[in-house]
Chain length 206, copies 4
């Protein structure tokens, strides 16, 4: 199977995000979908030195490994990408990073509770999500950071099944970082830049 | 119509401002005037990858489109640039960006009120505006962020008609970002760097 | 004696850390072990301009100088690296930097007391240390900043002899900076990036 | 008169400091002494685009202009450099920048009062000044920001005449920025990096 043409874009973003200190200590994972599969960063790679061969191919339907070069394992958080692609059919790329500001915010979502919605400040940058309402009352979902990552993925599935698609193209895992999506890598990147801006405003206003 | 010679300068600034995280998520717009028209960034472009062909030409008198390459639309905030050029005859360039610090500040300007003046800290960097008074009591105007951008432009016009030219070469749209001007692109950039410094001091002292 | 092959990696990290403002004013020191000796940055060098000849070779057993080019002296903090290598047999590299956030934190460890353990926030980035427990109650040791550096080294030895190896691969010298280690330069760098993330969260949440 | 060989170093630092946002909006001035004269940045230059021809030569004795290329004027703050060189005979370079953190700090020095000493946090980075005492009780002088710059220079002269050389190689002009010196450009730069670190700690701890 030929590599996804978006791997060049993802590799470039990986280097940029590392420079921005969003992917320190090998943290984070980036993926792009092509039909029934998606390509995701392999586990444990230095994100400032990633190259196009550091991705593995995974099934959208069940997260099983489709292909990987010798010795490469999918990211430990592959199940989160899988549930995003399988639940949200128009998503073509998903980006998960560890930003400082997302870790400064404390929401207190409980383990049993699993997730809760919180308000977003109604500032201009929200237009990056294609939302043009004046001072909209938007919320975004925050999830408990289960160490067992498939439990986070199950909670995301439960959220979408009970509450529908989030109002904005991202979710936050508390004490961990945001997962952001879009139709294409370029749109997902645009959304992530807006999410970073919003989380900075939230973390520094308080 | 030949492109404005300042487009090279504006393109370079666009890349620099993107690196500074002032134009994330395609935000912001940059323009330069040449006689009766001005050139402004087209809508929806990635500001870190802008090139000199990503500008459209607009009339200073009424904001109508003079020329644009196929598929390019003027920035959604063209009317703000148009009112600045038409009301302030010596302005040759206008720069609008989304900075974090300008979004941390909360002024509470009301929708009906439209605008209100607020004090600037009397620090050294104010000399960048050509103001040499010791510890000057300066104010700058803050505008309500109407989603209908021409309403912001109308309020700017009303401000200038009733109160005159602002004491400093910028205005702030609350929860959105500053619009800064100067005789040339170089002077507008100098002013913007000073405005950024001032807004950082305001946002971080409180 | 041939230079350690890791000196190329350490030199590159030195430039990167200088850019991140972690090694300003010639601060900090980086080392790698090879058997019974370790190579460490010479004293007083500009860390943004370091090259592979700016290291000296020191004995792990007693910290005595094994070899050095003309005029080079080992870092004033060599004894701290020596005690880390001699006490922790699987350590292959140690990195000491001066970060802003580590200097914002005030722990109040007394001179006579020497050291005390403090809790780490249980956020995701802790997985970079190979710790996969959910919301672990981890601590890290903070040491008093004796001007006589061998006194700090003695306290580190006393810590390890009485309390064992720290739970996480780093220690903090109060009002000074963290010392971080790993099996290799790459692992030590990964650990330092996670430590920086944690110390930022601690310094900015309070 | 041939240009001072340090102008290459100063030009490089100017670009670096601009990147660090220490010389925004043409702010700041850098100089190096050679015998009875010193070379200082000309007024009004973009510090990210400075070159070795953008300096003028001034007398240490009285601050009069010795030589300048057509159209170049000495920095408006030349008198501050002149008083530093004439009062402190071992100073070979002086660096004045506008940093955000130095502008966040509010000391309340009065216009009539002219200057007052304030304590420095006794952290490790102070060793960059060649001070090796444990937890030293150091102070640094803060000056009122007279718009008439020669008045600041006079106050600096009065400080040194009445109190002697400052304990540390810098002074701060309130709401403006630090002036830092050293025997050479390299030493002055090392001192400035330590001063920046200290002022950040002071501004962010409160």
């Amino acid at each position: 199977m030929d590599p996804h043409p978006s791997l060049h874009e993802l590799t470039k973003l990986s280097h940029t995000y590392y420079e921005r200190q969003w992917m320190y200590a090998t943290a984070g994972n980036l993926s792009a979908r092509e039909g029934d599969v998606f390509w995701i960063t392999a586990s444990g790679k230095h994100k400032g030195e990633l190259n196009e061969e550091d991705f593995v191919c995974v099934s959208v339907a069940d997260g099983s490994l489709v292909s990987a070069r010798d010795g490469l394992k999918p990211s430990a958080e592959t199940s989160i990408h899988q549930v995003v692609y399988s639940q949200l059919s128009d998503v073509g790329a998903a980006l998960h990073v560890h930003t400082l500001d997302s870790n400064l915010l404390e929401f207190g979502v409980g383990k049993e509770e699993g997730f809760r919605d919180f308000p977003l400040p109604p500032i201009e940058i929200i237009k990056a999500f294609g939302i043009w309402e004046e001072k909209p009352n938007l919320t975004f979902p925050v999830f408990y950071n289960h160490t067992h990552v498939p439990s986070i993925a199950s909670e995301i599935k439960r959220y979408i099944e009970t509450k529908g698609k989030p109002q904005v193209p991202f979710l936050l895992i508390e004490g961990h970082g945001p997962t952001v999506w879009g139709k294409s890598v370029a749109e997902a990147n645009k959304h992530l830049e807006a999410v970073h801006f919003l989380l900075q405003v939230m973390a520094r206003r308080i």
